[in-house]
């Protein structure tokens, strides 16, 4: 499905700021996997997503999607197969354009000179209704008027409108208030399950890292230091994860948000 082979990336090479963001990382994601990814700040989680999306050319290694080497493929061409959500709800949609115009571009229907038809509008309305946010009655409203949660839900719909081969979620609920975050997370779960999507999700919430999906990766200094699935994963607790981190990296987990997550749940 998705395979990264020995991928490395150093930012600012040859300067005092040089940072090894990905360190000969190899990863194989199977079809239908829902992988949660945790790790301290600067561990290389977002860089991993950038490598998959093609934001930069890796220094070494290759990225394969469905057996096809996509290492050299430009970002916008990969986007047809890869959907991505960012932490910032503003990043996924064009604020000056209406909901239906945003959806039309994301849906990629028709040729360059085609226009939104009433059939398109009906389809958008049906899909929007699934979000349960009343957006189906505001299709002409500029997206800039929506709340963060509504915009992130819309982005989720846009990213999955044409079923992607891989969906990348980069802490996509972290900027939302707890209630909205829960709602968007449930939407994510149902969309992923209904479409049998292969999905990678970065999260700072260890609880949802263990609850959601079927596999969990722990990253540190550009490497995967712990990769767990199946029975071993189902018996894991948050305490086990922090212990694993200390064992594998030789230091305590130093991320405030993750530690707070631990406190809340115990």
């Amino acid at each position: 499905m998705l395979r990264l082979d020995d991928v490395s990336k150093t930012f600012n090479p040859g300067t005092p700021d040089a940072k090894l963001a990905l360190d000969h990382l190899t990863l194989h994601v199977h079809p239908g996997d829902f992988v949660s990814i945790i790790g301290a700040n600067g561990a290389g989680k977002s860089t991993l997503f950038n490598a998959i999306c093609g934001s930069f050319l890796p220094d070494t290694g290759a990225v394969y999607l469905n057996g096809k080497n996509i290492t050299m493929m430009p970002e916008h061409k990969r986007a047809k197969r890869i959907g991505r959500l960012f932490q910032d709800p503003m990043r996924g949609s064009a604020p000056d354009m209406s909901i239906e115009e945003n959806l039309y571009l994301a849906a990629g229907l028709g040729g360059w000179l085609s226009r939104i038809t009433s059939a398109d509008k009906r389809a958008f309305r049906d899909r929007l209704a699934l979000l349960g946010m009343g957006l189906e009655d505001r299709m002409k409203a500029p997206v800039g008027l929506l709340s963060g949660g509504q915009r992130q839900a819309l982005t989720l719909l846009m990213a999955t409108y044409q079923t992607p081969q891989v969906l990348l979620l980069d802490e996509h609920t972290a900027a939302l208030d707890p209630g909205t975050a829960e709602k968007v997370l449930n939407l994510t779960r149902s969309i992923v399950e209904d479409n049998h999507l292969t999905c990678l999700m970065i999260t700072h919430n260890m609880q949802s890292a263990l609850e959601l999906g079927n596999r969990t990766l722990m990253m540190d200094r550009g490497r995967v230091i712990y990769d767990v699935s199946g029975e071993e994963r189902s018996s894991l607790t948050i305490r086990d994860l922090t212990d694993k981190f200390r064992q594998a990296s030789g230091r305590a987990l130093d991320n405030d948000r993750m530690l707070l997550g631990v406190d809340e749940k115990q």
Binding site: K77, A79, A94, L113
Partner: protein, 310 residues
């Protein structure tokens, strides 16, 4: 001022406003939609005028219009390639092309800074002949210009609702989103700038034929004049549908010309045109910012007054 004079003044303002409106519509596409401030506009306007004049002088007045548009399109293509494929900053790309176009325009006219079309058939003289004897015969200039502006507005209203047009609008609003919709923002920027500059070229071509002369400096300051008109139009019809906003830009161009004509009547020297347009652009762009600073200034002022009282 007699009624007749007001009418003539209004008609001149309308004619000049309509010629400028084509450049304003070009900026409506590049500045308002694509969010690119295209500083090659001045040179491109002159380029359209030069090409249009040369083709008209060679005896093909109708051909001068598509020729000027093609020339503008090529200029837009160069600006777009510089900024999307060669890493030149957007503003700098426009300035560089603008500078280069001066030489291109001089080369085209054979080092002549002025060309005269007094006895040359232009689209306007052709329209005059065609309309002679009808009720519109006195208004042949307005007829030609109105048709040109209407066609451009119709085109934009249609085009900006197609998938390509939406992608161009989205590029100005959020380029990340365009990329994740599997569309290359470099491509949409290129198409947008090519179309916008075609209109700028057409605008220059019609301006030259309307005044029956070409001048190498006729485009200078055009980008500021057009921006001023665009921003004035935005005050009236800024937050409406695309066709209304496009009509608003024409209205802006007209209002700008009326204000300018009135200022001339009040003995403002003609060379003040550019200062006026600069001030309008600065005011229109900075007003929202200054407004947002107002509460801070008020607080500071009252705080300093309280300190003074104690």
């Amino acid at each position: 001022m007699s009624f007749d004079k007001i009418l003539t003044l209004g008609q001149t303002a309308l004619e000049l406003g309509l010629v400028n409106a084509l450049t304003v519509l070009a900026l409506f596409l590049s500045y308002s939609m694509l969010n690119v401030c295209d500083l090659s506009t001045d040179g491109c306007f002159t380029l359209g005028a030069a090409v249009g004049t040369l083709v008209a002088l060679s005896g093909h007045p109708w051909l001068s219009l598509p020729a000027a548009m093609c020339a503008g399109m090529i200029s837009g293509l160069v600006t777009a390639v510089l900024q999307t494929r060669m890493g030149v900053q957007s503003l700098l790309a426009g300035i560089v092309v603008n500078t280069g176009l001066y030489s291109v325009n001089m080369a085209l006219t054979g080092s002549k800074a002025q060309l005269n079309m007094n006895k040359t058939p232009t689209v306007f003289t052709l329209a005059k002949d065609a309309l002679s004897g009808t009720a519109l015969s006195g208004q042949f200039k307005l007829v030609v210009l109105l048709i040109a502006v209407a066609l451009v507005i119709l085109f934009l209203s249609f085009f900006l609702r197609t998938r390509l047009g939406l992608a161009i609008r989205a590029t100005g609003s959020n380029a990340d989103m365009v990329r994740s919709s599997s569309i290359n923002p470099a491509f949409t920027t290129t198409v947008g700038l090519c179309i916008a500059n075609a209109f700028t070229g057409l605008s220059g071509c019609l301006m030259a034929q309307q005044q029956k002369s070409f001048d190498i400096n006729m485009g200078s300051g055009m980008v500021t004049v057009a921006l001023a008109s665009l921003l004035i139009g935005g005050v009236f019809l800024g937050r409406r549908s695309i066709p209304l906003r496009a009509i608003g830009t024409v209205l802006g161009a007209f209002i700008f010309r009326v204000v300018y004509a009135l200022a001339l009547r009040l003995n403002m020297p003609a060379f003040m045109l550019k200062a006026v347009s600069s001030i309008i652009v600065v005011l229109a762009i900075s007003t929202p910012y200054l407004k947002s600073q107002l509460p801070l200034l008020r607080r500071r002022w009252s705080a300093s007054r309280e300190r003074g009282a104690v």
